[in-house]
Subunit: 549 residues, 2 copies
């Protein structure tokens, strides 16, 4: 999506030229307004909603026929959102919402400039019902369960909206548009639609492409007539968050073939270009999450997010968020750690600890071998932070699953992974992971690093684009209709590919020519996609390697 | 409106061909339905309402993907009304409503055949707030007054709808369309819109052309998604009932110039053809109502609706509704009576009793001269039914007002009244009045009787057409936009015309060549427009000469 395309908004306000009624022009209030809007925005009819009419008339009278009319464009019509007293700067605001199953992010946007005014995030309150999606689906089937799940998110969201409005002194009526992107289940719960069939064969949602909904119908604390754009889904396992991701990447407008990876609860992958898009999803995420059994945790102060092992001294150089004493390790830190352990020879190509190389870092506890990453005296907890063999095994399984999904999808469309023009990585996974480390462990293909593009929160970014641009809105339905979803059948071939991927970096070393343990080559300096600093304020953005509590 | 044009309905149902979901086609429930409808009704997109989605999905599941989808056409789209379990005859029903300020009439229609299934009427319950419109407007301004007025009509209407459904064993969900025609104030009250400004300069309504409204938004006991077509108005004094009247007359499609008169609380007149329409309204009705001070009453059993005076014997031949003993006289009876009195010489051209001719029928009571129409021994009340001089004076003023309105409007467009091709008369006024008598008193122009066409309840008829036909719906907005409303300024010229019309039949006798008192010509036999019988079951239809209680 190019910058200039953001300039074609679909939600806007006008101050229509209106003479007050007189004996010589006794057109009714609402019709007078509609006529005047028609002059300001010619070419398309203006549609009013019955439930708005009362307010329109009283606002017109109160403001002596000088009002700001807010409208949104839908197909060949303008729909009236409402009329507001005129303010000097005609400021209008919108909200882009990333409806994550763990974290919700709300971005306040200036609809006139397209600029982000503020952003805030909070844990999805549905976590109290169930950390995983399945638990929530089951809860929704209980009497009143669906309503409770919907209300939990709505109430938290409204609290956040109200806080943003107060902070920026914005009248809630001036929030005249909302865009929401989430996975299919989260979207169903947000809409109060029963997700019962989403997890049951043949796994169909109630709706793929929701219509535009009015703010009041969803009980949102915004202008009651504000259109709420809810991103469509391709199916139960390919949600609006991914449509938003494709939109944010712009891969749907490129001639060259790109690949987009989003690792949340599932690993979701899309390959394609401006002519076709193929997607699949697989359980790589849960394995990654399960892999960090002991010391793993969500990003936060004191959490290790970067590890290097000095090839000469074999000293562990550890970076923590906010530079606090270490308390645990997050996803990106773990991948770094395993990559460094492999490069330094402390684990072998099967991911097993090499006693001889680990030395006294290796301790045995309850018959399980643990590698001491941080000794007790340097840990914030007073206890050693250790990595178990099972943790490494888990990570290897996860990275193998990830790589297998990538190669299966690439094989399906008959495009070698090495020919991927852009490899987009969405979410926390993409923002903080060191692609060099991810390549080293064999999680992602051994592409030149410049082909990797980290996109951050693409769900939020896509929602932003959808809210701001009419072309983005068109793209959303084009993308939805274009995506072919590949059902990953875990058949013998998949299992063979998976087994081959369960080595570091891979059984077939030629796939990873750049990965060479120390001693074989110079120590390649780890590179970060974006070397921006990381602080605890980032906590909760994205869901890369978060561990449910 | 020709019969074949009723065949293009805008509300219809289809049973879309749908395969149940499978692993190979995991389209969501709602999208599956929309796709299937698109195949059945190609060419226009199908729009769904968010609030319908939940029900759609559960109905689809319950009915195993075989459902009847009800849709209505609006512009270039199909809107989904709802989905229903399939019934054998696919019967769909609609309601046409005449929203009269005195009486509401509901017609139950079969939307597939266009046939009327049943009809019922009831007094407007708002009468308990105020018999006249102004009283209701004032009441609406009170706290909760508007809501009370709206609820009164809605509740009565719902009771009537429920009764019709029970009587005909129709599920209320099968009532999938409603059309409502009423005057501007009644329409505003029906919509819960404050009529405050309707009676205050510059007399503007809140809305001229309401959008289609969903049944649920008006709280009607029909399918919640049923479109409610509320007839538009041209202004505060030219309401949807008259738009419906023009539609019912078809004058808007004729090359020749026609005239439509509707006498309710006001006398409303429209002149025009397929190219132009000009309308005006004036206070002829209230004067007519006020004119029947003593013995006047609404049509009902025992009410005199026809009078002839034998030119030889001077005997009064009286016909009453249901042939009961007489209790009073209604509007059509009164016009007959005054016409006959004039023809027999018992009143003169100024409308004054001629003692010499009246003989002992004339009695004096409290200094006022009354003509005994029914002696006490033949009256149902045991008292004489008498006509006061003031009653005749009132009628003369009313008929003069009526005629002056007609001639003023005709003068404005420079078309002699005698060149009117069709003279349509709407309402009870038209159904029961003897045009011969109305000509005799000089109320309506002396056209050949075959040019008079009585249309009955045109408000109900227009609503029926609007509900059944897409072309009629288009005509409604064409008519609304085409009508030029002439503000009747009661200036000197109007007063001169009025004074000239205050004679029977008129000062200028050449305007009424056919009117000749007995002795001058053979007694012209009274003719009725439609000589259908009249019974008490007709009570309350239309508002011709009803007297407020």
């Amino acid at each position: 999506m190019k910058e200039q395309e953001k300039k074609r908004p679909w939600i806007k306000s006008v101050v229509p030229e209106m003479a007050p009624p007189s004996l010589s022009d006794n057109t009714a209030d609402v019709d007078r307004l509609v006529k005047a809007i028609g002059k300001a925005l010619p070419g398309k009819p203006v549609i009013t909603d019955y439930l708005l009419i009362r307010d329109i008339a009283s606002t017109l009278r109160r403001c002596e026929y000088r009002v700001e009319a807010v409208l949104f464009e839908e197909g060949d019509r303008w729909h009236l959102v409402g009329v507001l007293p005129v303010v000097e700067d005609h400021a209008l605001f919108g909200l882009a919402v990333d409806l994550g199953s763990s974290t919700l992010v709300v971005r306040l946007l200036d609809l006139n400039t397209g600029e982000s005014v503020d952003e805030s995030s909070f844990h999805n309150p549905q976590i109290q019902i169930g950390t995983d999606i399945l638990a929530r689906i089951h809860f929704a089937a209980k009497d009143g369960g669906l309503q409770e799940l919907q209300a939990l998110v709505r109430n938290c969201l409204n609290r956040e909206i109200t806080a943003l409005c107060e902070k920026h002194r914005i009248a809630p009526d001036r929030i005249t548009g909302v865009a929401v992107a989430g996975n299919t289940t989260m979207t169903h719960l947000f809409l109060g639609l029963d997700p019962y069939w989403i997890c049951r064969e043949p796994y169909i949602p109630i709706i793929n492409s929701p219509p535009l909904i009015k703010g009041k119908d969803l009980g949102l604390a915004v202008n009651p007539g504000a259109p709420v754009l809810v991103f469509p889904n391709v199916g139960s396992y390919f949600g609006g968050d991914l449509i938003a991701g494709i939109l944010a990447s712009g891969m749907n407008r490129e001639k060259e073939v790109s690949l987009l990876v989003d690792v949340g609860t599932n690993a979701e992958v899309v390959i394609g270009n401006s002519e076709w898009l193929m997607a699949c999803a697989g359980a790589a995420g849960p394995a990654l999450e399960g892999g960090v059994a002991d010391m793993g945790m969500m990003a936060g102060p004191g959490v290790i997010d970067k590890v290097t092992i000095d090839p000469e001294t074999e000293a562990f150089h550890i970076r923590t968020i906010d530079n606090r004493e270490p308390v645990g390790i997050c996803g990106s830190g773990l991948i770094d750690l395993v990559a460094q352990l492999y490069l330094s020879g402390m684990i072998d190509l099967r991911g097993k600890f090499v006693s001889r190389r680990c030395g006294d870092r290796l301790v045995e506890r309850d018959g399980i071998r643990d590698l001491v990453v941080v000794p007790p005296e340097r840990s914030a907890t007073g206890k050693a932070l250790t990595l178990a063999q099972t943790d490494v095994d888990g990570l290897v399984r996860s990275k193998a699953a990830m790589f297998t999904i990538l190669i299966t999808l690439a094989n399906t469309v008959n495009i070698p992974l090495m020919e991927i023009h852009r490899f987009f990585v969405a979410g926390t996974f993409g923002s903080y992971i060191d692609p060099r480390s991810a390549i080293t462990v064999g999680m992602i293909p051994d592409l030149p690093l410049e082909r990797y593009v980290s996109l951050g929160n693409t769900s939020l970014e896509g929602a932003t684009l959808g809210l701001l641009s009419i072309d983005a809105r068109k793209d959303i339905s084009i993308i939805r209709d274009r995506v072919t979803y590949l059902e990953l059948n875990v058949n013998q071939e998949f299992m063979n590919l998976f087994s081959a991927a369960k080595f570091i970096p891979h059984t077939e070393k030629s796939l990873f020519p750049s990965v060479k343990p120390h001693g074989m080559v110079d120590n390649p300096r780890p590179l970060q996609l974006e070397s921006k600093g990381r602080s605890s304020a980032d906590r909760g953005h994205g869901a890369g390697f978060q561990r449910p509590k």
